[in-house]
């Protein structure tokens, strides 16, 4: 694994911790690509034929595919390995955090002493049930557990965890989606110069921080319901010397004024919220957007137009990786949801961008300025990584 960009809250792993994290990362990638790469063949060569023989037709939806696939020994082995690999990621990091404490919490507190940005906590904000109901993606303690006043442990666990998960492919700052999006918007809409930007569900701020670089004149705000990750995000941003304003706030009910942001965005937040919450968040996004402003949500691909096997593959996490809302989200018609929230159909837009770290600059630019910005392919499915987003301009 390549090194992660150092900052004052990043824990330096010991010799053996680093060796373990690197291995777990490689093991997960192997399971995903080498073993997972055989699933389609298993489906086509034996699971589908025996389903057809029994029922006289092919499976018609992802649920039928799932029931059939999960009875197949190869898919069971792959699933069992994926589940263990995910658990091992967190296990490979936890000891380093325990070792770094309580010093880590003190460091976070002192980084917050003379901030360029700010952090506003509101103890009245509760962690909603859709977040607290289970430890999402098997992360022990979830986003919000606090063991001490000023605890940032869960932020540290997430920061290192997603890095190991992605094997460092998200770049040294783990910001590939946000940086790709910011750069894409800048090229595609050169006249769009947001003065105020808002990120919903920022966690430790991985994907909002690049907006500080790409739009240096903008005031950047980010909200989350979970305090430990907010504290960590604050310290991390300050350590990088990047002004960012963090707020403990629920996207369903924000205390920002009407029409106060030019750009409202999120990165992979929606698939961890309930349908009702998503509806409420969309209404709030519209309320806080200035006329002519842009709302954009980077997310998982839609399964509606996928073949049932791909949909099964995408939604596996929903059933076996503690992502309870994944499947509900991937099957939601976002365009319809945006129209329901009051956006005009003609102002709907999509983003499909190659990963900024994976392609040469001219390829990235051509994709951003080209006409084919349709969110069709996606990292886990396509040969090359593409990030997808769904958005709408507010009329005015």
């Amino acid at each position: 694994m390549a090194p992660q960009a150092p900052h004052d809250l990043l824990i330096e792993p010991t010799h053996d911790e680093f060796a373990l994290q690197s291995y777990v990362s490689a093991l997960r990638m192997f399971t995903l690509q080498e073993i997972g790469g055989g699933l389609r063949g298993v489906y086509e060569s034996r699971v589908k034929p025996s389903f057809e023989q029994e029922r006289g037709r092919a499976p018609t939806d992802e649920h039928e595919v799932r029931h059939a696939m999960m009875a197949d020994p190869y898919c069971r082995t792959w699933s069992s390995m994926m589940r263990s690999a995910q658990e091992m990621i967190w296990d490979s990091i936890i000891p380093s955090i325990e070792r770094a404490q309580p010093d880590l919490n003190s460091r976070a507190a002192s980084l917050a002493q003379k901030p360029k940005g700010s952090m506003t906590l509101d103890p009245d904000v509760e962690v909603p049930r859709y977040v607290s109901a289970s430890d999402i993606h098997l992360m022990p303690g979830n986003y919000y557990s606090e063991r001490d006043a000023g605890d940032v442990s869960q932020g540290a666990l997430y920061d290192r965890g997603v890095y190991v998960y992605a094997g460092g492919h998200g770049g040294p700052y783990g910001d590939s989606i946000g940086r790709s999006l910011a750069q894409h918007l800048k090229i595609r809409f050169p006249d769009f110069q947001p003065e105020r930007v808002l990120d919903i569900g920022c966690t430790v701020g991985h994907n909002i921080l690049p907006f500080v670089d790409v739009y240096p004149d903008a005031e950047v705000h980010a909200i989350d319901v979970s305090v430990p990750v907010l504290r960590y995000a604050h310290g991390r941003a300050e350590s990088f010397g990047k002004p960012m304003h963090l707020h403990q706030m629920n996207g369903e009910n924000m205390s920002f004024e009407d029409e106060s942001f030019d750009l409202v965005m999120s990165v992979v937040t929606f698939h961890e919220t309930s349908r009702t919450a998503m509806k409420n968040i969309l209404a709030e996004c519209r309320r806080v957007l200035k006329p002519g402003g842009l709302m954009i949500h980077m997310e998982l691909p839609r399964t509606a137009d996928m073949d049932p096997f791909d949909a099964f593959y995408i939604d596996w996490d929903s059933y076996y990786n503690n992502e309870p809302f994944y499947q509900a989200f991937t099957s939601t018609d976002l365009k319809a949801a945006y129209v329901d929230a009051g956006f005009k159909e003609e102002n709907y837009m999509e983003v499909m961008t190659p990963d900024i770290y994976a392609v040469p600059e001219d390829t990235f630019e051509a994709a951003a300025s080209g006409p084919e910005n349709k969110a069709e392919r996606y990292g886990r499915l396509g040969e090359s990584i593409h990030w997808t987003g769904w958005g709408a301009w507010k009329e005015g």
Binding site: H15, A19, I35, Y74, P140
Partner: protein, 117 residues
Amino acid sequence: MSDEIKITPVNRGKRPAFFDDPAIDQLMAIVMAMSAEMSVLYDRVDTIERLLDKKGTLSRDDIEAFRPDQGVEDERNGRRNDYISRLFRIIREERETLVAHDKMDEYNALMDELAKS
């Protein structure tokens, strides 16, 4: 120490059993964890060898302080991937025979014929 922070390494939510006998899931988890321990050990041995090559002597502190540069890490990663590939050969093999399953049909047909004759 009373101000120690402990993170319980379990997550809330029922763990699915993928095999009919949950002991197989447990065994899989144990094998995966064991494979990791072996890889860590190999990296440690590799560190020791590199330090000895360079200095002819070593201390525990030298080992702890050693960090692979990108070249060493790439080399180690190549070794890790070969190792994983050998370890999970039985599963890789299944994938490969699937790709060649037309050939397997031919082979099985041949075997059937031979059995009859």
